[in-house]
């Protein structure tokens, strides 16, 4: 009988586990686990007064000297894999919204970040992502002042989905829109195309190729600000993200009801990106970019702007790639390396590797 007596060490109360390694559903319930997530991960990274106030909304001053309008934008990011050469979903989220604001000539000021976390996401991965967002925010000179976190069951999100919304101010002298491209204007591209899309594809691993290609994801607001200082009469700014350069040019051609003529030989494609596209049957003109912009501006200002861009880190390879023409409104034409001319259409549907 004595051998069966259990050894009692005293009553043990089953307190909930702290869950330090992985995200669990409790992290999204608004209780202590949620609070811990905010205190241990988000606040230390996005350290600023508005966020630290801990209220339901961030309260901020909007500077308005010389600015008569606000710009407002939102974007959701669902990229897979979460980490890829040159960046991650966090950097993508911050730069994406900063760039959207920059493309209407705004100076971005504040971002919000909403997270949908998948149960099972490693906390260390979340920390990496949040840290990357802060680095990108500092690069851009903006503050992340409000956020939200929800957790969904395993399988209902690819690790994490992030939504960012952002606000910026626009100087009254600036008037930028996809509707303002004018015949005679020059089209400038800030650098090589296709880097981001191919970097992500490569990181995904499904197509089995290896390449030293990095995403170009970067905040473009300093570049646009400097460009606008030199040339406030820039008519159009846009970043060629999903759908690539071709789709973006088509959007502008339609919005402005003008024709666009592009010189294929002027458009820069990194050799490894070109090779990857050749192998899979992709056209670099349709591959996403996350750190490049198109500027459409009066011919008289083009040289000066290009020269300025080339003195900046993100515009070193800026080049004029084409013109706005008073012909074939809404259509983009491409002069090939052989001198013939063909239509450069928008991307339709998904870009698929081909065997033909």
């Amino acid at each position: 009988m004595a051998e069966d007596t259990p050894i009692i060490q005293g009553a043990v109360c089953p307190t909930p586990l702290p869950h330090r390694n992985q995200v669990v559903l409790g992290h999204g319930s608004g209780g202590r686990l949620s609070q811990r997530l905010i205190e241990q991960i988000f606040l230390p990274a996005f350290r600023n007064t508005a966020l630290l106030a801990g209220d339901d909304s961030a309260v901020i001053q909007i500077p308005h000297d010389g600015c008569n309008r606000l710009a407002f934008s939102t974007d959701s990011h669902v990229v897979w894999p979460l980490f890829f050469p040159g960046g991650d979903i966090g950097r993508l989220a911050v730069c994406g919204t900063v760039n959207d604001l920059s493309m209407v000539g705004a100076s971005p000021l504040y971002l919000t970040a909403g997270f949908i976390l998948e149960e099972g996401l490693l906390i260390s991965d979340l920390e990496r992502i949040v840290h990357s967002m802060q680095v990108a925010a500092e690069e851009a000179g903006i503050l992340i002042i409000a956020g939200d976190t929800k957790v969904v069951q395993r399988g209902k999100a690819d690790g994490v989905y992030i939504n960012t919304a952002g606000v910026g101010v626009i100087d009254e002298a600036i008037n930028i829109s996809g509707r303002f491209a004018s015949p005679g204007d020059v089209v400038i591209l800030s650098g090589s195309i296709g880097d981001h899309g191919i970097a992500v594809l490569q990181a995904r691993g499904d197509l089995g190729f290896e390449a030293q290609i990095e995403s170009d994801v970067a905040p473009l607001n300093h570049l646009t600000r400097q460009m606008l200082e030199v040339c406030p009469q820039i008519h159009v700014l846009r970043d060629p993200t999903r759908g690539g350069l071709a789709t973006t040019l088509n959007e502008i051609a339609r919005q402005s009801q003008v024709g666009i003529l592009i010189d294929e030989s002027a458009v820069l494609v990194k050799p490894a990106v070109a090779s990857a596209c050749e192998m899979l049957g992709f056209d670099p003109f349709y591959v996403a970019n996350e750190g490049k912009l198109i500027a459409i501006l009066p011919e008289s200002t083009a040289d000066e702007v290009i020269e300025l861009m080339r003195r900046t880190p993100l515009g070193k390879e800026a080049v004029a790639i084409g013109r706005i023409v008073p012909l074939h409104p809404g259509k983009v034409l491409l002069k090939t390396s052989l001198g013939s001319t063909r239509i450069l259409d928008s991307l339709s549907g998904e870009m698929l590797p081909r065997i033909c």
Binding site: D206, G208, T336, R342
Partner: protein, 369 residues
């Protein structure tokens, strides 16, 4: 890249075009049967550079476009079955069956994966022993050695969960069918360079002899295509009808013998229905009976398919070079790349898609710069 840039040189291309202009004295109709060549011609605007006397007609060279509607419908049915991982080359995903495509099957929960190589499908089969992996083995002779090897690999690795849905088509019977047609206008052929890399060009002399049409093995870069056209036009002007090789750095007369051996080991000739054209006897390859247990058509009980083609789509006439995409009443309106009625608009190599995307003439504009 070596062996690419040199054959894209604008100066060389210009010179060949000039030589073609100098050589040509009357109109000629040339056909290429190769989606890749159609794509290259449109992408570089080669048809614009050629003299008006040369008419380039695009034949049924896109294996995606010519895969029969019945087979696409069978693929959709197999892909919809639970426990199946359906693997395919990318271009097939958009091809419309009778009412839906692989994209819609995926949206409804089907496990459909794009693979770059059939060996990737084999790998998926090894990693998922509890699932059935089906590979959509389409293509011309170029792709047959790869598809065949996957079957041999499945056999040697003992993969009982791998099967192939075969839709191989052969070029020579298609050329024969086109040349024999009473409506044929084609006078010279550019033979598909990579098909010939596998098969050689020993199959063509009887054809050129019978139909008095020159057949010239042609590559894919702009300089290669223009050179192929030049050699064909020279023959036509001289009244010759021989088989010539304008792609000798890749293609030899006998072709790739190990590849042909594997094709013959795994496949046998059979009749094949070409979408938009109809049945061409002995124009396809099917699995030999020894490998019949790898045939997805028998492994999966697929119901009787009643395929429904769009009544407006004239892909068949386009594939045979009888009409141009611009002559189709639905072109650009009811039928666009976003909402294709037929396969020639779906595949980026299909003549209709190529015209829609690239051809300034088709859109009624030419730059006046």
């Amino acid at each position: 890249m070596k062996y690419q840039q040199e054959f894209r040189d604008a100066g060389l291309a210009h010179s060949i075009v000039q030589e073609i202009r100098r050589t040509v004295t009357r109109s000629w109709v040339l056909m290429e049967i190769c989606g890749g060549q159609t794509h290259a011609i449109m992408r570089y605007g080669l048809d614009q550079l050629l003299p008006e006397e040369i008419e380039l007609v695009h034949g049924p060279g896109c294996p995606v476009c010519v895969t029969s509607l019945e087979l696409v419908d069978k693929a959709l049915e197999i892909a919809s079955q639970p426990g199946v991982i359906f693997t395919s080359y990318g271009d097939m995903l958009r091809v419309p069956g009778s009412g839906r495509d692989l994209f819609s099957v995926r949206a409804a929960g089907g496990d459909i994966r794009v693979v770059y190589s059939p060996l990737d499908a084999i790998q998926i089969a090894r990693e998922n022993p509890d699932k059935q992996i089906v590979f959509f083995a389409i293509g011309f002779e170029t792709t047959a050695p790869a598809n065949a090897m996957s079957v041999l690999q499945a056999k040697s690795l003992g993969l009982s969960n791998y099967s192939v849905l075969v839709s191989h088509v052969r070029v020579p019977p298609a050329m024969q069918a086109i040349l024999s047609s009473p409506y044929n206008r084609v006078q010279g052929f550019l033979a598909a360079g990579h098909v010939c890399a596998v098969m050689g060009y020993w199959e063509y002399p009887p054809l050129s002899e019978q139909f008095k049409a020159p057949i010239v093995v042609t590559g894919f870069e702009p300089v290669d295509i223009l050179q192929g056209i030049l050699v064909t036009v020279r023959q036509l002007e001289q009244g010759k009808f021989e088989v010539d090789n304008a792609y000798p750095r890749i293609v030899s007369y006998e072709g790739n013998l190990p590849a042909q051996a594997v094709i013959n080991r795994v496949f046998t000739t059979c009749d094949r229905k070409w979408r938009g054209i109809g049945l061409i006897p002995a124009s396809g390859w099917c699995l030999r009976s020894e490998f019949s247990h790898f045939d997805a058509e028998s492994r999966f009980a697929v119901s009787q398919i009643q395929p429904e083609e769009s009544p407006i789509c004239i892909a068949g006439q386009i594939l045979q070079g009888m009409k141009k995409p611009g002559q189709c009443p639905a072109f650009g309106s009811l039928c666009t790349p976003e909402s294709p009625l037929g396969a020639t608009m779906v595949s980026s190599e299909g003549a209709c898609a190529a015209y829609y995307r690239y051809s300034s003439q088709a859109a009624g504009l030419m730059t006046q710069e």
